[in-house]
Amino acid sequence: MVKSKNSKTGDYVVVAICVVLILICFLPVWNVFVRSLSSPAALVRSDVYLWPKELDLTAYSLVLKDAEYTWALAWTAMLTVGCTFLSMTLTTLCAFPLVFDKLKGRKLVNGLILVTIYFNAGTIPSFLLFHNLNLINSPLVLALPYSLSVFNMIIMRTFLQNIPDSLRESAEIDGANPFQILFSIYIPLSTSVIATLSLFYAVGRWNGYSDALMFMNRNKKYYPIQLLLYFIIQSKESVDAATQEGFSSPGASDAIKAATVMIATIPILMVYPWLQRFFIHGVTLGAMKG
């Protein structure tokens, strides 16, 4: 990758484009972070740009004292862990058998699965099904219906197919059954793809809200954090705590909105950079046709 013959001006242009890009991606999030740390008075004067003015953590303490919000955080965290585990189990159970090229009916199963990418029944048929299964307004509706993503399954399958067949075949000759092969050979070799797909599933669940809005509208207790955030952001006033504590100025509620947004975002921002190497590999595998 040595391209020393290239002109210096070209390099400057390229670097400049990247710096602008970094700023465009980073500044909006940074600004909201800074607002969440600023005093209501400074926000009302609207002179908070790149650094917190009159550092003030009341917004965070108010939000974290709000029972509804903290419960939604805790519940969504539990839900995310549970859903990720369920999804990874289903994904592995689906992808692993399809690696065996001698398995009869493999093509049929592959076909059945692929059809669902190109054609889906739509929202209302799903709603009617959930209704008949008594899933409407049950927290299970957040876990079951979208627990297996075909896209992620294909990534997993492609990854497992790249593990040399000879490993599997020698284990089969030694009399290992498929479960033993899965747990002693395939899973230990797939930690990177497992990490990637867990990240995808976890982010999807943590960030999702439309299933709760459509199928669990009446069960407020189990609203995931993003749906609660939606109502907080859209509302003119803010979390209950704001009014209880006697904060009703627009600045206070702005700082509180910023704090609620930041608290729900920080967990993901802490995690994804560490998994970058893995998910780049994962997306690349997904692009190769399986």
Binding site: I22, C25, V29, V32, A121, G122, I124, L148, V283
Partner: protein, 316 residues
């Protein structure tokens, strides 16, 4: 003769037994995901008949009465429904603009990243550019409100301090469309470079060296080596995007919309939600969803045909 066939049969049975003994666990494993696909993907397809029937909450889909006009009543109703026609227009408009601006953006960015001479800086740029992909649309709408609101948004405060007129990014339909498109590009551009960057690593570096010996400028190298190296990836992703042209996600428009801009922000997914879930016109909403799925498949198949006519590998 008879003994021979009997032996053959026995051998066959033995083989099947051995096969099953070896592989029954694989079938057992597959059973769970298959049940999932049947229940949550295939059974809903049987409910599509609701589109052709008079919906009744007390009857099963099979028992409902057929709708008027040989079952097509709700399709006819949809096409004489102003909300639906607007939703089709808005869906096509927002998706087309998203395609025009959102499709080339990651290609250009991947080329720029590929030209970056400093590896560490490239890595940092990538990490930051991937970040918006990990934010939910609710969070992004929160960011947008804080930054772009007409009175208290940061951008408008800056504009006002510079003595300029504030811009109603979110409150005027025409501006909202551009904000929506821009936020879409912002959210996805970095993430979508991943596939192109992977394709770029497949280009033989000797090509660049040979071009350098011939005195090719940087732009010439991009035009004659980098872009052709991306060609097949571009075609496949373009087919997939064309297949999505009438598809509409829900999370993004629903999170970004507000009461002032519904004339441009109501897309098909929101129409279906408003009529079929908030409202009680399940048959109409099912018909609209079915229409959307069918058009999506037609677009996908045709885009693929065109790609193959141009001698590209296509999806299938």
């Amino acid at each position: 003769m008879l003994a021979e066939t009997r032996m053959q049969k026995a051998a066959k049975r033995y083989k099947t037994r051995m096969y099953l003994k070896r592989y029954w666990m694989l079938y057992a494993m597959l059973l769970i995901p298959l049940v999932y696909f049947i229940i949550f993907k295939y059974v809903p397809m049987t409910y599509i008949q609701v589109a052709f029937k008079k919906f009744s909450i007390t009857k099963s889909a099979w028992e409902m009465e057929w709708a008027k006009n040989s079952g097509l009543e709700y399709f006819i109703k949809a096409f004489s429904n102003r909300d639906f026609l607007y939703a089709v227009r808005n869906t096509l408009m927002l998706n087309a603009l998203g395609l025009v601006f959102g499709f080339p953006a990651p290609i250009l960015l991947a080329i720029v990243l590929n030209e970056l001479p400093y590896r560490r800086f490239k890595r940092i740029t990538q990490t930051v550019a991937y970040m918006p992909h990990f934010l939910s649309w609710i969070i992004i709408s929160g960011l947008a409100l804080q930054l772009l609101a007409t009175r208290f948004g940061l951008v408008n405060i800056v504009l006002r301090n510079m003595g300029l007129e504030p811009i109603q990014f979110l409150d005027k339909p025409a501006n909202w469309v551009w904000t929506y498109v821009f936020l879409g590009v912002w959210q996805s551009v970095g993430w979508n470079t991943i596939i192109y960057l992977a394709a770029l690593t497949g280009i033989n570096p000797e090509l660049y060296e040979a071009a350098a010996v011939d005195g090719a400028s940087r732009l010439r190298k991009i035009w004659h080596i980098t872009l052709p190296g991306l060609r097949s990836t571009i075609v496949i992703l373009l087919i997939l995007s064309l297949g999505q042209i009438i598809g509409s996600e829900f999370d993004r428009p629903y999170a970004l919309t507000n009461t002032l801009v519904t004339s441009v922000s109501n897309v098909l997914s929101i129409f279906v939600y408003n009529y079929g879930i908030k409202g009680t016109q399940q048959s109409l909403a099912t018909a609209v969803g079915f229409f959307q799925s069918v058009i999506g498949v037609i677009f996908l198949v045709n885009a693929n045909l065109i790609a193959r006519r141009f001698d590209e590998r296509g999806l299938w």
